[in-house]
Structures are given as C-alpha cells and as structure tokens.
C-alpha cells in the first residue's frame, strides 16, 4: 500500500512550485514512497511525554538594539535581478 499517491505528489509539487515531468512524477512517487515508509518507523518510538527540540542550544532572548545600519545601495541589489524596470524589480504579472 503506497503511503503517497500520485495526486499527493502533484499537490506537493505545486506547493513547492516545481514543475515535474511525467517521468519525474513517476520516479519521485516511488522514491518518496520508499523514504516515507522508512521514516514511519519513528511511530514506534514512544514520545508522549517528550518535548520537541527545535533549538539544540539553550539560548533565548537574543536581540539587537533598535539602531540604523547602512543600507545597500539600490544598484547593489538591482544589479543582481534577472529583470528590472528602473528602480524596481520586474516579474511576470500574476493573473488572478
């Protein structure tokens, strides 16, 4: 019994903004299914009383003072853009 269906994969690919070819969909379905079956073994571990660890270091309250720091010159970031329009970055329009 597969853990993930072809439809699951298509949905995940859309969420992840990846356009997959037919071949890739088939391959990834199989591979992801195998991996997910493997990781399901975690269900065997009893964790009812266990807190999750998001951060391994016991750090808290790391902040910075509310002070201004130098900005990038606009050219420094705009020059990196694949497409620009004056001082703005240009992208294809969203068709709602």
């Amino acid at each position: 019994m597969a853990v993930v269906s072809r439809q699951d994969i298509e949905q995940v690919a859309l969420l992840a903004r990846l356009k997959l070819e037919e071949q890739e969909l088939a391959t990834f379905s199989a591979q992801l299914d195998e991996i997910l079956k493997y990781v399901q073994q975690l269900q065997a571990v009893s964790t009812d009383t266990i807190e999750p660890t998001s951060h391994v270091l016991p750090l808290s309250n790391i902040t910075r003072p509310d002070e201004r720091r130098p900005c990038l010159r606009p050219e420094a970031s705009l020059n990196l853009a694949p497409a620009r329009h004056g001082q703005l970055i240009k992208v294809p329009k969203v068709i709602e």
Partner: protein, 492 residues
C-alpha cells in the same frame, strides 16, 4: 606542507608565500582537470590578492596563507552558487562572517571548492558542474557534500579548506579522503553568510591535513556573531593550547549500536585498532549506549528536508540567479486555464534550476510540513531528536569522548549509489546523530583498506568540548602515521 609549517616558514623568512601559491596553482592546473576539486580557479586574481595582502596586511595568524572555500559560503562579489544552476551569476554583496574573520587574519580566500548541490548529498555527484573524484582512486567518490574541499586538501591542491556539515558533510569526505575534518558544536561558528540547507543543523568547519591546522582554523572562525541569533555567547578557548597534553586517564566511550551489521569489516578492524591505540596512550575504554541511534536517519531526513524545503523556497528567479526564459504559452483548446505567468515562472525556474536530489528533498520536506502530516512527521522528528540528544548527554557523563567509525564503508564508486536515494541516506548513519544533538565531532584517518582507500574514525565530545577533541585527536595522530600518507597523485 601544512598551514602551521608554512606559517613558521613564512615567519622565519624561509619561505615566500608567492612561491607557495604558484606551486599550488601549478598543481591545480595539473590535477584539477581530472579530480575536479575546484569548480573554477582564477590564478591571476589570486596572485593579485596575495600581493595586496603581503603589502597591506593584516599580518594575522594566517598571513599570506590561501584557504580554500566551499561554494556555499558567501564571498563578496564572487560567484557563490552552491554548485547549483539556480544560483548562476549570483554574487553576494557581502562576505560571510567566517570570510571576514579569515581576511582579518591575513588569509587569501580561494574560491571555489565543488560540492553536492545545496549540500544535498554524500558523494559530490549532484553538483551541477560535475562530480569531484577521490584522489586515492579517481573512479571513486570523495564523499560529500564537501567533496571538493576534502579532495583539494588530500591531493595537496589546498593548504586547508572550509567545508560545511549538516549530516556529516565535512566528516565523511574527510574520512573518504584521509584528512582531518571538524564539525564544531552548533552555534560555535557563525552561520551568517552560509547559504542554508538545514538551519538547526548546519555548521561551517575546517578540513585540514592535520589536527594542529584544524585547531588553528577553528580558533580563527569561531566566536559569537551579533548577526547570527543562533551563535553561542561562549568564549573561544585557545584551541592550539589543547594540543600536546597527555590523555592518560581520559575515558573514551564505544557505542555498541555503532558496531552492528553492515559495517565493512576493514572499517571495523581499523577503528578497533584505533581503540587499542587510545588505550596504549593511557585512555580507558567504556561501553556506552546510544539506544535511539536506529531512529537517527529517519528523524534527520524529516527535520533536515523540512528546513531545506523552506530555505530553498527563495530560489524563484525573482531577485537573483537563474530565471526561466519567458516562452509563449499556446493554449490548447479545452485545456486548463493558465494559472498565470508568474506561477509559470516559479514552476519552470525551479524545475530547470534544481537537480533531482534537490527536488527530491524539497518535495519530501514540503510533504512532511504540509497540513495533516506535521504532527506525524515533523513534530515527531523533533521529539525523537530530544531523545537522541539525551542519549549523548547521558553518555558523556560516563566518558570524555566517544569513538566511532565515520562511515560504514570506505569510498564507494562513482555512480554506485545514485539509483537508490534511501541507500545513500543510510550511509550517513554514524555522522547524522551528531548534528541532531548539536555536539562537536572530528573525523581523522585511522587506516587504509586493502585497496589503499582511507578509513576514517570519529571522535565526539559534549557541547563546546572541542579542546577535548583536539587533545585526544592530536595524541592519536602523533602516535600514528596516517596523516603523513598522501595519495599517489599528490606526489607527482
């Protein structure tokens, strides 16, 4: 030549750094086409950079010394691409903190060591620029993801290098290439400027020819950084001072879960021999248990891919890097209406920009975070992580360091594991728990297989106990000869 030897020679006036660089560049020109440790090298720029350093300083601890940098560490105005097509042309307008620290000590920064794309991999085979080859046997992988860095150091195409480690990506290539690699305690080294794979697991660390160089490089790059909220406010001790101290009376733990079926017998023997050497040095062997070891790979691949899928979401062709060309979309009659040119751009940019392993991990990570699966996978993974960390906390109450093999096998052949991603993941079994727990670990050579492939052993310590690691590693190193062995190719 090691960094510390070169440093002494430069300070003693016996050596001109320019000559060292020239020799290095010559060797690179000769061997890199075959080994492909470097994605690219620009000799003239390097010579000019060295010249400037020699004239203007600063005369720090790495004065005039070139350090090789992996392709996921930002160097200002230098192509930084994580060996991926999707970052083609990206030149960060800023330095990573570790780069600033190297420069502040007078080093010359040497781009660009090859890597697995976005650090996803254990073989450097997923690089957009083609694989790197193991200098001990060019038909084999150097390990990954810091394969380029490890190969360069092993083949004497670099004096020392920086790599990154999320699940073993410094230690495993160090083991496969017969050099020293350290993953520092999580938070020891700033991640600012490291292009993230898994934010709660990543660390930058040194890959060097010997333990002394490793200690030196760590002392340069370590320390809290106000730009990294996860970097630790822990003072940096004098790492080189830990070298040369007696290890008599220290205890080393041997986890029974790490010596089960599936380890190559030659690897097991080599590590057993290393254990005996440690005992001869006066250390005491204790058996420790790390009972949640079997679950580490599963927990890791859930957590790491989840974080990676999120960290890689920004690669979308909007601000920098690769953007898919704007093709015309001819609508077949009766087909689904277009979702919008913007969404097409996202879909195609990422489909064309990422390689298959990157896509696989993004998919897996997206899945385990998605609605309905978060508790069963991601949250569960985080809880198992707590148990794994606890295992180590308890183990370190009974010993000062833990000894394990770095990898179940020595270097495998190129292409051998590409068909089965799960098999590739399982080979990370010995290195992965370390990242989950956030503890420091060092890999160093401890023998060779019959076919002259390096075997690596791993030393683990409690958080911020790098001095202990260096102390034991150095003692072992001085009692053995492995670090003086170089691949045939390096002798030419």
């Amino acid at each position: 030549m090691t960094i510390h030897e070169l440093r002494a020679a430069i300070e003693g006036g016996r050596c001109d750094p320019r000559q060292v660089l020239d020799e290095l560049l010559e060797r690179i020109a000769q061997h890199n086409p075959r080994l492909h440790a470097y994605i690219r090298v620009e000799p003239e720029r390097l010579r000019a950079a060295l010249q400037e350093r020699l004239q203007r300083g600063p005369r720090g601890r790495l004065f005039g010394i070139p350090i090789t940098i992996k392709d996921n560490i930002c160097i200002q105005d230098e192509d930084t691409g994580c060996s991926s097509r999707i970052l083609t042309g990206f030149r960060p307008p800023y330095h990573a903190t570790v780069i600033e620290r190297l420069l502040a000590e007078g080093a010359v920064v040497m781009p660009r060591a090859n890597m697995d794309e976005f650090a996803f991999g254990s073989s450097t085979e997923s690089s957009h620029f083609g694989p790197t080859r193991n200098p001990w046997d060019p038909d084999r992988v150097p390990g990954g993801s810091s394969g380029g860095s490890a190969t360069a150091v092993a083949a004497d195409l670099a004096l020392g290098a920086l790599g990154t480690d999320t699940g073993g990506s410094i230690r495993q290539p160090a083991a496969f290439c017969g050099v020293v690699g350290l993953k520092p305690t999580y938070g020891r080294v700033s991640r600012y400027g490291l292009i993230a794979f898994a934010s709660s697991l990543d660390q930058i660390g040194p890959i060097t020819k010997d333990v002394q160089d490793c200690a030196l490089l760590l002392s340069v790059i370590a320390g809290q950084d106000p730009r990294d909220s996860t970097s630790a406010p822990v003072e940096v001790p004098d790492y080189p001072a830990s070298l040369g101290q007696s290890v008599s009376g220290l205890r080393f733990g041997v986890p029974k879960e790490y010596f089960v079926e599936g380890i190559d017998p030659e690897v097991r023997d080599a590590v057993e021999q290393a254990a005996k050497t440690l005992e001869r040095l006066g250390m005491r062997r204790v058996e420790v248990g790390l009972p949640h070891t079997p679950y580490a790979v599963a927990a890791y691949y859930i957590i790491a891919t989840a974080e990676a899928s999120s960290n890689l979401a920004r690669y979308d062709g909007v601000q920098y890097g690769y953007r898919a060309a704007n093709g015309s979309r001819l609508q077949a009659p009766g087909s689904r209406p277009p979702q919008g040119d913007l969404i097409e751009m996202y879909l195609r940019t990422r489909a064309e920009g990422f390689g298959p392993e990157a896509k696989r991990r993004i998919m897996l990570g997206t899945y385990v975070l998605s609605r309905g699966y978060y508790e069963a996978y991601y949250l569960k993974g985080l809880k198992v992580r707590t148990l794994i960390k606890r295992d180590f906390d308890e183990a370190f109450e009974r010993c000062d360091v833990i000894l394990t093999p770095t990898s179940p096998t020595a270097a495998f052949r190129l292409g051998e594991k590409l068909d089965n991603p799960l098999q590739m993941y399982l080979s990370d079994i010995f290195t992965i728990s370390v990242n989950l727990a956030g503890i420091p670990a060092l890999s160093m050579p401890c023998g060779f297989t019959a076919s002259k492939l390096p075997i690596g052993m791993q030393l683990l310590a409690a958080p911020f106990q790098e001095p202990r690691l260096f102390q034991v590693a150095h003692a072992y190193e001085q009692a053995t000869d492995w670090h003086r062995q170089t691949p045939a190719i390096a002798l030419n």
